[in-house]
């Protein structure tokens, strides 16, 4: 009992304690704030990638794509674990306007909006037709024209604050999309000056997926038009990708495994047919596997950040070690007294480890509390800094980031809290053992001098 009383009194009465508490609080504050923002960014990025392709993706490495997809799509739709299925064409293309000399490289994405909006987050990414995604390719200004959905960064300007400056309704831009049709062997289907296939579309909507590379490159057009434009309509009707979403409650791993089983059976049934060799380049993956090239670098940065914070933890350990070492050095007399009245080594260790734990508890609580408070107001603070000083954490005119993520994760808070206390226990271990192993007569005689 005396151990905890003494630990508490030492904690309250020694001014140097404030230094240790402040160090722990600062470390916890930094870790909570930065990890929350980083985790939020990574989480948002993952979710955006998930929404972009659906739960499961069957995709080909080849621009040629693969055929015989229709019976497989029908088969999938009949499965109880499948919510929606959307075949997709993805091809490189050029975008220009009538009478203009400029052109820019784009990714032509052919989808059926009725299916694609259910299999992915496509519907929610639309600006004008978000409530009626089936009409994504029907321009508001003239429903008889064939529309296209353009990536938001290609067509909508942004303010310095990063806000998109949308028009009340889509401006009637006429856009010409060109593609280079390939046959099933990967060779141009046409020769000479006729090797390019072009078609005119009218701007009907823009799509904001939140993924910079997508929003700056993609032009969505109707699936059948994309197949025709890209030469994927004959002699074998082909697509490059099938996006699948699972019903709620179906685990990703289980759903993907089932799709893989069905796909292998489908491939076996069609491999010997013309163009069946194109199945060799097709993989069935979860959205995480499919988008790993994009997600992995960010996750790697997150890991690097955790490693950096581990170093911060080591600094915390060292600060607590130094503070406790100083306290133990100045408490020789007390240690001698405790040992002379029969306090065991373990008891003396607990006095100083108790001090370290209290330092950890108060420091971590202060840091976590301050961190949560700061996160709660982080966007208001950034807005204020931007208004008064013109400073932004990220230049919104450059980076496609909206609010700073500030969603408090209780698991993160608990982990950092626990880690701070463990760091304090580790930091206090050597000085506490040093105190516990002191010979009473040494310290008492020295203090009598």
């Amino acid at each position: 009992m005396y151990k905890w009383i003494l630990a508490w009194r030492y904690f309250r009465k020694r001014p140097i304690t404030l230094l240790a508490v402040a160090a722990v609080a600062l470390c916890v504050f930094i870790v909570v704030v930065v990890m929350t923002v980083m985790n939020g960014l990574v989480g948002e990025f993952r979710e955006k990638n998930h929404l972009y392709v659906g739960d499961c993706v069957i995709s080909s490495d080849s621009l040629v794509g693969f055929g015989y997809y229709e019976p497989f799509v029908d088969q999938l739709i009949g499965q109880p674990f499948v919510e929606a299925v959307s075949p997709v064409v993805r091809q490189v293309g050029l975008l220009t306007q009538p009478g203009q000399t400029w052109n820019m490289g784009v990714e032509i994405v052919g989808v059926d909006p009725r299916f694609h909006a259910r299999a992915t987050g496509f519907g929610d990414s639309l600006h004008f037709r978000s409530d009626t995604p089936d009409l994504a390719f029907v321009p508001l200004y003239d429903s008889s024209l064939e529309g296209c959905v353009v990536g938001i960064d290609k067509i909508v300007r942004r303010s310095p604050d990063g806000d998109y400056l949308h028009d009340p309704e889509p401006y009637p831009f006429t856009l010409i999309l060109s593609s280079f049709p390939l046959n099933t062997r990967g060779l141009p289907t046409r020769v000479g000056t006729d090797m390019v296939s072009s078609r005119t579309f009218y701007y009907s909507d823009n799509s904001h997926s939140g993924l910079v590379k997508v929003d700056a490159n993609v032009v969505y057009i109707p699936l059948d038009r994309a197949q025709t434009l890209c030469g994927m309509d004959s002699p074998l009707r082909r697509v490059n990708e099938i996006s699948i979403s699972f019903r709620p409650g179906v685990s990703l791993a289980h759903g993907v495994a089932q799709v893989q089983t069905l796909w292998h059976a489908h491939v076996a049934a069609h491999r010997d047919q013309p163009g069946g060799d194109l199945f060799d380049y097709v993989a069935v993956e979860s959205w995480q596997q499919n988008r790993r090239a994009f997600i992995a670098p960010m996750e790697k940065e997150q890991t690097m950040l955790i490693l950096l914070f581990l170093m911060l933890g080591i600094i915390t350990v060292f600060i607590v070690f130094v503070v406790l070492y100083m306290i133990v050095s100045h408490s020789g007399r007390d240690i001698g007294i405790l040992r002379s009245i029969g306090a065991p080594t373990g008891g003396v260790v607990v006095v100083f480890e108790g001090f370290a734990i209290l330092t950890g508890l108060v420091g971590a609580a202060t840091g976590a509390g301050a961190g949560m408070l700061f996160l709660w107001r982080i966007n208001a603070i950034e807005d204020w800094l931007h208004r008064t000083r013109g400073w932004q954490l990220w230049d919104r005119s450059v980076y496609a980031i909206g609010d700073i993520p500030n969603q408090i994760d209780p698991v993160l808070i608990a982990s950092v809290f626990g880690a701070a206390i463990i760091a304090c226990i580790i930091g206090g271990l050597v000085p506490s053992l040093k105190a516990g192993l002191k010979r009473p007569v040494e310290t008492l005689q020295v203090s009598q001098l």
Binding site: Y2, S340, G342, T345, G347, V441, Q448
Partner: protein, 230 residues
């Protein structure tokens, strides 16, 4: 009466650079149960060192101490802590109270150290009663909640005395208990020690003041690290 402490051929040396300082040079000593033994000697004669060895705060370089039939050099760890906690009670010249604790808490500290948290909760009430009685006996009833630095020298030493007695030790070891007090306050402390002795408490006291020795049942002198009976 039987001897409770038997010290044989106690030597204690300290290394001082290349030379060795022999503080105790073959001390033989026995203390009987219920005895009030005073050890006198000049400053630096090794009185405190001998007392520390008898109370297992220090170890002799050579020789052995038997306490109620137990050789102290065989004690270590928990047994040694228990010996310091239960068997002997120390009173130091400079009181050695913990400034972070109140008077009552200082007196209770040895009792707390001898029990775990759960054990303490069991004996808490009884022990607090005993501590309060001891402090009342030493005239500190109104000082229970005070911190040591708020007390006079005499009050501090009486608190230390109460602390030494809380676990009802077999032997009370007092190292110059009046050395830091004026003569009137010192007399009060000696009066308390005499009362305890009359109640059957075994006491070994170290002092350089030979006038105090008059109160003792037996006096020995330490000269050049050796014992002379007076």
């Amino acid at each position: 009466m039987t001897a409770i402490i038997k010290a044989r051929e106690i030597h204690k040396s300290y290394k001082m650079g290349k030379s060795t300082l022999d503080v105790l040079r073959g001390v033989d000593l026995s203390v009987k149960k219920g005895e009030f033994l005073v050890i006198v000697g000049a400053s630096g004669s090794g009185k405190s060192t001998l007392l520390h060895i008898l109370g297992a705060l220090d170890q002799p370089t050579k020789g052995s101490v038997e306490f109620d039939g137990i050789r102290l050099n065989t004690l270590w760890g928990r047994k040694l802590d228990r010996f310091r906690n239960h068997t002997v009670g120390f009173v130091f010249q400079f009181y050695h109270l913990l400034n972070e604790l109140s008077v009552l808490e200082n007196v209770l500290a040895p009792a707390m150290a001898s029990t775990g948290t759960l054990g303490w909760l069991t004996v808490r009430k009884r022990t607090i009663n005993r501590a309060e009685k001891l402090l009342e006996q030493f005239g500190l009833k109104d000082r229970l909640g005070h911190k040591p630095y708020e007390l006079s020298g005499g009050e501090r030493q009486r608190t230390a005395l109460a602390r030494a007695l809380i676990n009802q030790p077999q032997v009370l070891l007092a190292d110059e208990p009046t050395g830091n007090l004026d003569s009137r306050t010192g007399s009060g402390i000696l009066e308390s020690l005499s009362t305890l002795h009359q109640a059957g408490q075994t006491i070994v006291m170290v002092t350089h003041d030979e006038r105090i020795a008059g109160r003792a049942g037996r006096v020995i002198r330490l000269t050049d690290g050796r014992v002379q009976e007076i």
